[in-house]
Amino acid sequence: MDELNNLMHGFSVAMTLPNLGFMVLGVTLGILIGVLPGLGGANGIAILLPLTFSMDQTSAIIMLSCIYWGALFGGAITSILFNIPGEPWSVATTFDGYPMAQQGRAGAALTAAFTSSFVGAFFAVLLITFLAPLVARFALKFGAAEMFAVQMLTFCSFVGMSKEPPAKTLAVMALGFALAAVGMDTVTGTLRMTYGVTELLKGFDFLIAVIGLFGIGEILLTMEEGLAFKGKSAKIQLDVVLKTWAELLRYWKTSIRSVLVGCWMGVTPGGATPASFMAYGLARRGAKDKDSFGKGNIEGVVAPETAAHAAGTSALLPMLTLGIPGSPTAAVLLGGLLIWGLQPGPLLFTEKPDFVWGLIASMYLGNIVGLIIVLTTVPWWAAILRIPFSVIGPIIIVICAIGAYTVHSSIFDVVMMLVFGVFGYLFKKLRYPLAPLVLALVLGDMAESSFRQSMLLSQGSLDIFWANPLVGGLMTLSFVMLLWPIVPVLKHRLRRRT
């Protein structure tokens, strides 16, 4: 039980008064960063990183990682209240979180989101504490083909989600892929669909599309409906936290499944965003009342939040043990480690035990601190919905614009956000589902490069996707997922024949 001794030592490092102070400060900053759409954990940490150079290494990383936890918590707030995902991994949270808020259950949705985040993170930290070397070896098994198999699985577990006609789903998905293809093609090193326009060089950022499609689109809809937020009459109950907890216990299966998906995606580095989509898709599949998803089912909040937080936390594991960041935020933290003269890699655990175990202990403490802070503020967040739309509407638009600008410090992006907003409004009016578009936009690029890298490695043979049990298993599972919705139909027909 070396790990336990080390961990106890870590707690003694992290528990000092200044370090606890940095934790509270970091989590609070992180929540604010998470709330502002577009600012995001990666940008927030990048901006604050230089401030920490004069601090003690361990305190600095504790504060920065707490900003990260805070941002993970905070991303859910705007998703639920205004249908604006503060972070890419909160998109799936909007599917059921926002309907819940509209039904006056914002407090319950927020409590469910925060609690699930905590559960996800907690299990991921346990994984880091006890299985780090083992998991690191597993992550190394992931080459291009395995990555593609994972992305394929995400797509397939999401197929059949929408109640709209399949042709509409396919159409928006194709649009998402097309948008994702704009900009530099990493495999050939040439520009695609930029037509000599400088602004198009960087392609369409997923965050800008999401802020526009969801946030601005939603505001346009609300305006049309007569400038009133439906959740306005929601009663704010202070005991909402306890009541929701009692309800959450029923969804333990979804939680466990989502933790597994999240940890796995964080380690491999699939990332928090695919993890949240995959967990949502799986939760819907496993549920008895599939139709209630998308209409305010609390399980639809639990699944993506648990997975996103588990993935976000376990993404630090490959960073510490291998030096590969599992998420953009982890990439910035990695830069920080190097500046402090810490070389991440297999030897970090033995060379700098104080630092590593202090960090791991702070993951436990930081998440507990974070949970307490966010849960105590639930009633206040929910109370925002009582503010009349004529006041809060313009504020949301301004926050969205600031968010879109921050992503690349570009005014063009703000214009793009408005254009996406109009599209979001039109799509909703015409009953085109937005989720497949977003999924294609965020994963399209990654899936394309993994597929083409695999094809380069195998010299064009598809055998590479069944070359070993790992990739073969993933691919087979994807196809099972893809065909699953047809099974009941087939069964029905067979029965009719006999």
């Binding site: 990048a46 401030l51 098994k141 030096g323 500046i339 890699g345």
Partner: protein, 334 residues
């Protein structure tokens, strides 16, 4: 008396300092925060260096105004370069370059050339090392190259960062040296590339030292040779038995390949000589800090410093070299 002496000494020092300051006040200084553009994504070599410099400047208070790192990685860095090209006469914007200063315009045809910017200073040169997995049977570069020659073309796989950029150019050079085609598989960042090799998904990489150092120290990767005219000067042991200086040059191993990557600073077009001087002096001060020395050692950089005409000539020569290499490899934009 002692106190008085101290006081007098202090007064003298501050008087001298005040004269010094008035003298310095004539020189140009930034009047608002300086944007430090990185034409690459977060976490890569250029980004690490830029953020590191930002840290040194802030910690040692080398500049009154803050230095703010901004990533403009779109179109293999074209976004960042074009932004600086468009900021004519703006002294509050500088850019750190990597080889994409040459490769991006050549490969994509984006309307940009380094002559559109004002050359600032060379900070260092980054090395390239040929790496294989520690479990591979090759102990020397010669054994590996001989095996490539002995086997049919397209047997060996090389992972690298980006497409038609430095890693693929070097791979094309190895193709030429061996007469056999190596399959080149592009990945997004140097860290990913090293891990692909550790995981055994490819046969070799040409990672920069800093990207693969931890894996070498951990006994997962083996360096075969370094692509420079001479060995590195860092003799501190990295593993139990080897230091950076123990890696032979590729040339001595029978692979005549030399390639170094520029880590330098450029300013917007149309800035004054005074403004250029300010930044050159700033980076001279950065290079004198002990933190910088550590960083150079960790990443096994070649510590060449150049500015002014010398630097412009070097860049011009290197551009011509890239044109030749990329033309040979068929990487030029049509």
């Amino acid at each position: 008396m002692i106190e008085f002496k101290n006081w007098a000494a202090r007064a003298l020092v501050s008087a001298v300092a005040a004269i010094g300051l008035t003298g310095a006040a004539h020189a140009w200084e930034p009047t608002k925060p300086v944007e430090f553009v990185v034409p690459a994504g977060t976490g890569g070599g250029a980004d690490q260096m830029a953020r590191f410099i930002q840290g040194i400047v802030a910690k040692n208070k080398l500049m009154e105004q803050p230095l703010v790192v901004v990533n403009k990685s779109g179109g293999a860095g074209a976004e960042g370069f074009l932004e600086l090209k468009g900021a004519k006469g703006n002294p509050h914007k500088i850019i750190i370059t990597l080889s994409n200063l040459f490769t991006t315009p050549l490969a994509t045809g984006v309307p940009f050339n380094w002559r559109d910017l004002t050359p600032g200073a060379m900070l260092a040169l980054d090395q390239f090392v040929l790496w294989v997995n520690a479990d591979a049977p090759y102990k020397t570069a010669k054994e590996y190259i001989d095996d490539i020659k002995a086997k049919p073309a397209s047997t060996f796989k090389m992972a690298g960062t980006g497409s038609k950029q430095e890693d693929q150019i070097i791979t094309a050079m190895i193709d030429k040296a061996t007469g056999k085609k190596i399959i080149y598989v592009p990945f997004k960042g140097g860290g990913d590339v090293a891990v692909q090799l550790v995981g055994g998904h490819v046969n070799s990489t040409v990672n920069n030292p800093i990207e693969a150092e931890a894996h070498w120290r951990g006994g997962k990767l083996r360096p075969l040779c370094i692509m420079d005219t001479e060995r590195l000067a860092y003799t501190d042991k990295v593993t139990d038995t080897q230091s950076w200086a123990d890696i032979p040059t590729c040339k001595s191993a029978g692979v005549p390949i030399e390639y170094l990557m520029l880590r330098g600073i450029f300013l917007a077009p149309g800035v004054t000589q005074e403004q250029v001087d300010f930044y050159v002096n700033l980076f001279k001060k950065v290079r004198e800090t002990p933190e910088w020395a550590d960083f150079m050692k960790k990443g096994a950089f070649k510590q060449t410093f150049m500015s002014g005409k010398e630097f412009a000539d070097w860049v011009s020569k290197t551009e011509a070299m890239h044109y030749g290499l990329m033309k040979d490899a068929g990487f030029l934009a049509k």
